[in-house]
Amino acid sequence: MSKTIEEINSKIKSGKAVVVNAEEIIDIVRQQGISQAANEIDVVTTGTFAPMCSSGIYFNIGHSKPRIKLEAGKTLINDVPAYTGFAATDIMLGATALPDDDPRNKIYPGDFNYGGGHVIEDLVSGKDVSLSATAYGTDCYPRKKLETWINIHDLNEAVFFSLRNCYQNYNVATNTSDKTIYTYLGVLKPRLGNVTYCSAGQVSPLLNDPYYKTIGIGTKLFLGGGAGYISWHGTQHSPNALRTENGVPKRGAGTLSLIGDLKQMNARWLRGVSMQGYGVSLDVGIGIPIPILNEEILEYTAVTDEDIFSAVVDYSKAYPHNLPDILGEVSYAQLKSGTIQLGGKSIPSASLSSYSRALEISNILKEWIISGKFLLTEPVASLPGAGSSQSTKPLNYRPVERNNCY
């Protein structure tokens, strides 16, 4: 038996939709079997909450008297440089931006206490943030300096926008060198002292729809505590990554570009983070509903941590030098047990992605749907899938010869 999104939406509107989260579905399928579960269940909700560096916001501050055009000048928000290469008062800020006077890794490992991710958290919390701008001045935009407090409530538009979120799967990081290293996957102790991973595994959105059969451009989702949409596939989207027999990618694979109204979001789900010795980022909370259109789609949502594998990568060598070598593969069940076995050695494991927060998101989304305030959307176009020409190539490095230096 199959259903349409329209049919599921009318059940949601009449308060009759059966919605469960991606953890609950596992036991339901074990008890009832695929066929009965597919009949009864209308939506499975997923969730993830983890640092996602390619996140950002854009906003419009409104025109001052006299006018200033921020473009091609320099604009700082709480001392963090923002991008102003657009029209006069449009500003974009990325999660990983740092104040010019942050010492970075000059005192190694750097602290990275405040950056773009933290500005986004402060702004979404409703705190005043300072804007300090210089510009060159024109006949129509004469002002050259602007210093003012701004607040999200006063902005004309404030929009969350990401180039890449929601990685379908991710490397497991470790360190074979003799010294501690500081990475975007956390602090890695020497001589395989620990491994870190960053996925919600069995409740993570794209691991529950591995071939993007329901998730596509235009899909409405939980984003940062509000509602958002998939705007495109994310950068480095790699649907042709290695997969297991059940279709689940064993490497990075798919990614999403997301968009949503920042004014609806809140700081519980957009949180600035500091990665010691590495930089700043933003914890982003995302939850995607999966409409159970047929048995095949339901079967994908019943995926468990035992069925999901990832590659252990040496961040002291293979990763920095962009080599394909991996040290082995482990399941998320092993990773979540707290210890993995690798080459006869037991290694303690830790996560950068919060499973309990991911589950909380899947439950919030479930409540939104059950209460009828969140309807599902039909994708307007598919994401590039397995077998498409979409791939992630390394840089084609071509040194620039500068002969004509006068």
């Binding site: 956390g186 491994v195 309990s356």
Partner: protein, 136 residues
């Protein structure tokens, strides 16, 4: 009754080369775990240790230390978790040398078991949302 306390011992220069810890074990039947130490011959030194044993032995040991001229202070550094900031990701789990963080299996929330914390501060900067705070 057993007691276990984290204390800081300040040694005057004349005591730096004395086998004081040895006597705590041998004569007072106490166990110790050195958390931090700085001992330089001919100058003042300090040791931060967790001292444990029977209450009576402990009191006698402390009396002995005081008598020899060691200045004793309670460890005033205290690591606490800001519950509003913790996202329960678990990045701290493999950073803590004493296993003070554990994942509760059902909810997968990260527990901070304060009794196991030796205030080494390793977790403070390794925590991405900076939820671990050092209080004095």
């Amino acid at each position: 009754m057993n007691v276990s306390r984290k204390i800081v011992l300040h040694f005057p220069a004349r005591l730096v080369e004395e086998a004081i810890a040895y006597r705590l074990v041998k004569e007072y039947n106490l166990r110790f775990n050195i958390l931090k130490a700085s001992i330089i011959p001919d100058s003042e030194g300090f040791v931060v240790l967790e001292l444990s044993g029977d209450q009576e032995d402990y009191d006698r040991g402390i009396h002995f230390l005081t008598k020899t001229g060691v200045k004793i202070e309670a460890l005033s550094q205290n690591v606490v978790r800001n519950e509003d900031k913790c996202t329960h990701c678990g990045a701290c789990l493999t950073i803590c040398p004493t296993g003070a963080f554990e994942v509760e299996s059902k909810s997968r929330k990260v527990l901070f078991i304060h009794d196991r914390c030796i205030a080494c501060s390793n977790c403070i900067k390794a925590c991405p949302p900076r939820a671990m705070e050092l209080h004095f």
